[in-house]
């Protein structure tokens, strides 16, 4: 995610080169420029034919296309924002679990505190890996050996971590460190972990329905391929930059929608999952009063003009 000062208007142009999606967009606009130039060379001699276009008919199609692109934009942004919201819920629930068990565990009970801090911190880190290239086990907080082995063999690491946490609560209950009443609240926070995991999987695995996506792409393609032939009668060679600006607008909205739709990747618009997971780890350790290595703390404060 590129962090930017949203009110700074003039900086906009400088960043155009950095965003991969906008680079790709510019490439395609260039391609369309080449196509337009070819049309211009071929079509210019014919431009005296004055093919007029019925304005209302094409205006209608243009409005329909614009509304479809607005729908695309809204639904893509909703997914992006839902992705951010569920990671925010993950933060809230980790903090609340830590606050509750901190107040309940004896202040001197470092062993339980360490175990909880590690298990809980590992959940977001594992989830980040699960949603990207796979869990990198060397990034997790160290757990007793056999647990680490079980994690490595698991088909769904977040589920297993949730199960380990659940076993830990049962242990606390048996040792009478928490009352049954506490369990009711703990369960509510705990279940949110797997709910967040499920919501992320849903957003990632179910893009906008196939038909809509391709229907819009087809619509834009026809529109842009026909346009130079129409505009040449009015503008002559001046049609080339005009077509390219139109392509910038139409392709741009579509392509940003495609990118935003899955906010868990590593594009410049995607969410900084890794940093958020590291920040949760710092929070959890601080609330529980458990030491954390400075190097790990630093990961949460990475100067994030571009963060992952």
């Amino acid at each position: 995610m590129i962090v930017y000062k949203s009110a700074d208007w003039w900086e906009a142009f400088r960043h155009l080169r950095q965003s991969p999606i906008i680079q790709k967009l510019l490439q395609r606009v260039m391609l369309l420029g080449l196509y337009s130039s070819a049309v211009a060379v071929i079509g210019y001699p014919l431009s005296h034919l004055k093919v007029t276009i019925d304005p209302q008919y094409f205006s209608l199609l243009g409005i329909l296309l614009s509304l479809l692109l607005a729908f695309r934009t809204n639904s893509a942004y909703d997914r992006f924002w839902e992705g951010r919201r569920v990671w925010g819920q993950l933060t809230n629930n980790c903090r609340n679990l830590a606050v509750l068990l901190h107040a309940r565990l004896p202040a001197a009970d470092q062993s339980h505190r360490y175990h909880l801090a590690k298990l809980l911190s590992n959940f977001p880190i594992a989830l980040e890996g699960h949603l990207r290239e796979g869990v990198r086990f060397e990034q997790l907080e160290d757990l007793p050996g056999n647990l680490m082995d079980k994690l490595r063999q698991s088909g769904h690491v977040p589920s297993l971590l949730a199960a380990l946490l659940q076993e830990f609560y049962e242990l606390l209950l048996r040792e009478e460190l928490i009352l049954p009443t506490h369990l009711i609240t703990i369960q509510r926070h705990h279940e949110a972990l797997l709910d967040v995991c499920g919501a992320c999987e849903r957003i990632q695995r179910t893009p906008i329905p196939f038909s809509y996506s391709y229907f819009i792409k087809g619509f834009i393609s026809v529109f842009l391929l026909v346009m130079p032939w129409v505009l040449i009668t009015t503008y002559g060679f001046f049609m080339i930059p005009i077509t390219m600006f139109g392509a910038y607008a139409l392709l741009g909205v579509e392509m940003i929608g495609d990118e935003i739709e899955d906010p868990f990747g590593r594009d410049s618009n995607d969410l900084p999952l890794a940093q958020m997971a590291h920040r949760m780890r710092v929070n959890i350790h601080e609330i529980l009063g458990v030491e954390l290595h400075e190097a790990k703390k630093a990961l949460a404060d990475a100067p994030y003009s571009v963060v992952q």
Copy 2:
């Protein structure tokens, strides 16, 4: 559901042939092409009459129609996405139930674990059948004989499965394997099963109100039937492809809305319910530490370029 790489623009055209809804759309566009051709043959001699169309009036109707189609698209997509969300909740609640009872049941208690894994796995599989052609009982995990018979006679299989699970929790409570406190959390996850079932039935049985649906269809029909007569005065025979492109756009949005609206069918845009149910079965068995046949595991990982 056809799974596709959403940012890959040029692949769009290749898939046009695969989607049944787009095939049907192309058929109708062809029909309209025939109609336009007939109009062209009949109407061309009259085209010197120069019937001009008042632009603002028709622009208004076009905008109104576009907004209605945007409404159609939004409401259809909302249903699709709600369908996906409730199946995601089903996944979350199955996992959370399995995690909770795994931590509570003695590790060696294979018999209760098997029974739970089977009952719980059967719910999504039965729901998939319930929403499609009816439950296929041979797909369910095997239950003790008399239970299987009761299921076969039931008028509403998911309700009966929920009742069997509820009886199982009461059994655990009587055997003091769970505390009353646990029941509060279990009930919250458990009730989500029937809530999901009810939400799916609601989406499936209540399409967009009759009047809207037919009003839009009527509007589009009149629009498309009148159009060739209007366009012929401006474009002559060139009007035929132009009309067809307009038909592609208007009919396309409407037809995709009709298809997306019920996401539980077997169209290429519909949700891969069967595969999701199989994946839940794998998850539940793994969390509870219960063996599952490799052939059944494989069903969850079907290479899904087209999945059900």
Copy 3:
């Protein structure tokens, strides 16, 4: 509610006659046709005056009107869909209550089961009456005599039924058939009954604000009354069908919005409340293992091309 196969395009026209809202719409379109004809007779001699209309100004008003109609459509559909959703929640909560108490009550305890099945089944049936012409007490399941009398004298039947159910839970608690823990879950399902009742009353009693409704009606009226005078200069007598098509579109969207807004009536777009209530009764009886008369079962499966 008319149940229809949403993808069947050509059947649209056949149903136009059946929907009362569309009949009323056609009447008004006819009226406007008469008005247009009068305008045509009076105005035709004046049509050489060539009153031109400033396109941008009227285009703006047209767009504003279209957006208002889109707002109308969205808010009306939201109410329709919320009405459906809360009746779906009613179904879910009735099933969940039945499942929970079925598992808890001794299998042989037919008397409690019968009482619960009757009370619970009566709630949706009474709610349907409450939202329509008043509760028809002969449709309710028979309750012990004094209860039936109390119901008949009640000012708000659903509240009293909820109170009777609550008394029944307290009875079960006193007889130790349920634990206090069960009550927590039961209460959550139980309170949903009155929440659904309140939501339905809200939708029914609070239409879209007066000012919006009449503002839109006034806007459309002026628009349609002015239109023939404007169009006659361009089209002559051909203006009559064109005006009527415009009236069909504008009036249609408005009138359907008026109808959909309150989904609890008996129009062809309204929800099949009676059938839904009967289906809940069948579900509840089946889950609790209590006999239900075949004639009552049949009501839930009425072949619903038109259902109430």
Copy 4:
């Protein structure tokens, strides 16, 4: 709130005079009519200058303004509807509290029943005053003297009523009239009282952001002041009614938005808070089996063509 039959189209015009917001709107339209007349007198001699307006540029601004007005309308209606929804929740929670405690309190225990009925009924009545001109203590149900004095001195009456109710639950708990388990459900209903109060305060105290509101007002003002100068070249004196119709449309949408935004006032579109509070009082008393004076009952059934 003016209650109206939404499908009755022709009655629309008769009500125009009753709504204060529409009266104010008509005033402003008249003012603009005067302004236009002045422009007509001054500008007519210049109208041969034929200042043409670039259509696309102004069309764009018109669409942008229409979309901003649509945004205004949607956000104002959302507030109106949220206000209605939270008052509906208040109704539901009052009924549910009454149902729960009715079933739990001994039938003969009139003193507790009276106290509860009075406290609970006073909450919506006090909230109505709190949101309008201040609580009118003579309207509240009579409480023991010192409580009434405390209410009169309170800085936030609904909070104090909630605290008195909470003390009442604790009393019931100490007298073992309710179990701790009941308290969990009671608390959930009880907290909704202050949640509703907070939501109403939020809607009332936070209008749409200052910048949007004034930006839109400025946009419309410029638009309407410029319009007569533009239209005069096309229409001459006929421009006056046309401008006034445009003013009716643009000002109307804006002003209705301003009014609907805070639904707790006494405008004709505002919610009938007083009547809703009286109806809750009747419901609560009936459920708890406590007498209520006929005159108070009558307030709930006021023939509400205009209600407060």
Copy 5:
């Protein structure tokens, strides 16, 4: 936040000077005016070239841009409103916690009441600082010395305050001043504190995705820079005010969106967090019956035409 009477139309213009965002907007409009003047001087001699613009093509782009600006406006307002809603939830939960513990703590127990009132009041005050320039510890209610020191060293003050409150509940539980049952309700209110904190951090740290923001800025920039060259052929020097009005509209919508998007700053549209926190402090102290210094009470009632 500037508090205004939303229906007072004519006051709009007077406030234009006060709002910093509108001042900045006017600056930019002036800049564009200068640019237009330069274009006018250079371009006027060329204006006889009559470059006509294809209306439909630019109309399409204008509609697309308008829809993107509508999307921008909606998403910015949603964030603003969510920010307000979560602060409203904070108010509700603080009041509910105070009401519950007031009823439970012995009336004479001033020491626990004071401690709770201080801890609870500090949460919103600390959150306000946390979201703005950092917590100002001198503004917090005084806590016993070592707690204040811990707060000063904390990396995340709201989390630590939540932990201190949680320890306080555990203390009450150990001293048997509350039952385990009460804890369930208290926890639900308590967890809302950190949920609100997390939601505010989410809104503040995650602006609308980079690509959308810059895409829209780029679109508007090109549009406004090209416009004078186009309009000069139609209007001559009259184009300058017209361009400036267009710039006012397009830039205005974009800039207000940028400002509203983060509602926790100190702009004139931002939420009055400080005053809301002070008002919560007054509420909490009044409910718990604990004295608060008059000077602190006064902060909650600041005459807020401009409040922070």
